[in-house]
Amino acid sequence: MNFRCISIMVASLALSASVLAESLAIVVHPANATDLTTEDVSRLYLGRARTFPNGESAVPINLAEGMLARESFDQRALSRSSAQLKAYWSKLVFTGKGTPPQEVDSHEEVLKLVATNPSIIGYVPASAADERVRIAIQLD
């Protein structure tokens, strides 16, 4: 666990300059034709909506805390710092009202999961998105 965290930190330090400046691609399964607004994305990741605008169920996947794309996503899509979000989720978790999105440790894992299930939504730096997924909205 510690090793993994360290390697993530090292990797994210190396990437810092490029990733922060880059846009984020909000990705869904290619069969999922829904178009999303930043507001839709924010509602899904804050647990305020559990379906895509077309009514199909939605399962958001997060990147692990400390990853640069995560920090950038928290700021751009959710307009909150990571600490604020942690406090936000602790309110919901300890009242049994919600659980934060599952976290994965790499962009590749996000892409793999999104590619296997039309309900899953994730995000990666725009340059990491490939043909396995569809970009529902890009956050610049």
Binding site: S57, V59, A87, G96, K97, Q102
Partner: protein
């Protein structure tokens, strides 16, 4: 581990698997140390010797998803003020009627205040403790049912909660131990959120009965003096109570303004008419959030209960009667100054100084405390 859970949940979406009991364990803890600044001062349980136990607590919450929209949540908490004896703070079943409607049944947190549901989870707010002037009613849980309904109304997120239940437990009344029963608790809370601000209203009512053995001699004496009407106006015997709460939060990202007001009354009893409020303002400098807050408690004793009898009653009845009614009078103003420092993704360091002025006695009490709030 995370990944395998995820794969399972992804599978269950496509293949509806209901046999898996998915268990989540979360916890939170607060370690706090505090002291007042003088031997004649006490506040929030602190005296002038440093105390590590008074406000420290540990809690574990287990939630098990039983499938088919049913889940069980239990929270076990040990409070330092209670020697860390672990107790079920709450335990309830949740059934999801629809995506936006849920029923909880069991032991629940009574939703008096904006922060009722997570008042013990220090990590969830900036203060070292929730404002005691407003949150100090003395009982927090009930047994019953609650219905949650969430909706997206135009630009607003609406959360409506309806509540039915009862409470029984030990409390303190006029400085004496007492057992309280509140029946027919019915309540509604409604919160509207939009962008940076939210507004909350709460209304709860219930029938209050309180048995305080120490007050029995007074009530017996008054009855024997031929004044059962006076006893009825004093005691808590299935008396109608009412709680009204209002709250507003403005959180613009840097500035955070929070305010709550409440008003409490128990008819036909010597319970004072209470009005309490606080106003808190904080500013986030990245990971450090200093704040200042002001609290006011105004509890007006019901002197009108005994006034018609001041010339009639013998002193051995009149004096305790006045003492009991006036014991409910409170008039305090409290200033708090403190900060939160997010030094770790799952832990916050807090420090807070509180200074309470009691206008009735012209006394000042204070407390300084530092602590760490953790979630895990």
């Amino acid at each position: 581990m995370r990944k395998s859970l995820l794969v399972i949940s992804a599978l269950s979406l496509t293949v509806s698997m209901t046999c898996l009991a998915d268990i989540q364990i979360n916890g939170f803890a607060s370690i706090k140390a505090g002291t007042s600044t003088g031997s004649d001062k006490t506040l929030y349980g602190y005296t002038d010797t440093i105390d590590f136990k008074n406000e420290s607590l540990f809690a574990i919450q287990v939630r098990s998803d039983l499938g088919d929209k049913l889940s069980v949540t239990a929270q076990v908490m040990g409070r330092g003020s209670n020697d860390f004896d672990a107790r079920f703070e709450w335990a309830f079943l949740t059934y999801e009627l629809t995506e936006s409607m849920r029923i909880n049944a069991g032991r629940l947190r009574t939703p008096f205040y904006r922060y009722s549901d997570f008042m013990d989870v220090g990590f969830a707010y900036d203060w070292l403790r929730v404002p005691q002037g407003v949150y100090g009613l003395g009982f927090n849980n009930l047994e019953g049912l609650s219905l949650y309904h969430t909706a997206h109304l135009g630009e607003f997120d609406s959360t409506l909660q309806l509540l039915l239940g009862s409470y029984s437990g030990d409390i303190s009344l006029a400085g004496n131990p007492a057992s309280a029963d509140i029946k027919n608790i019915a309540g509604v809370t409604w919160e509207l959120e939009r962008g940076w601000w939210s507004v909350r209203t709460a209304y709860l009512s219930g029938k209050v009965s309180i048995d305080a053995p120490a007050l029995a001699p007074l009530f017996t004496g008054l009855t024997q003096a031929g004044l059962p009407g006076l006893v009825a106006a004093l005691d808590f015997n299935d008396d109608q109570s009412e709680f009204i709460g209002l709250g507003i939060t403005l959180d613009q990202g840097d500035w955070v303004l929070i305010s709550e007001y409440n008003r409490i009354n128990v008819k036909n009893s010597f319970f004072a008419k209470r009005e309490n409020y606080y106003l808190s303002l904080g500013y986030r400098f990245d990971s450090i959030t200093p704040f200042v807050s002001f609290e006011r408690e105004d509890h007006r004793s019901k002197s009108a209960i005994y006034q018609p009898y001041t010339t009639v009653l013998p002193p051995q009845l009149l004096q305790p009667l006045i003492a009991v009614v006036e014991s409910q009078s409170v008039d305090t103003k409290t200033w708090n100054l403190g900060l939160r420092y997010d030094f770790h993704p799952a832990a916050a360091l807090k420090a807070q100084y509180s200074n309470e002025k009691n206008t009735l006695t012209d006394n000042r009490n204070d407390a300084f405390a530092v602590g760490v709030d953790i979630v895990f």
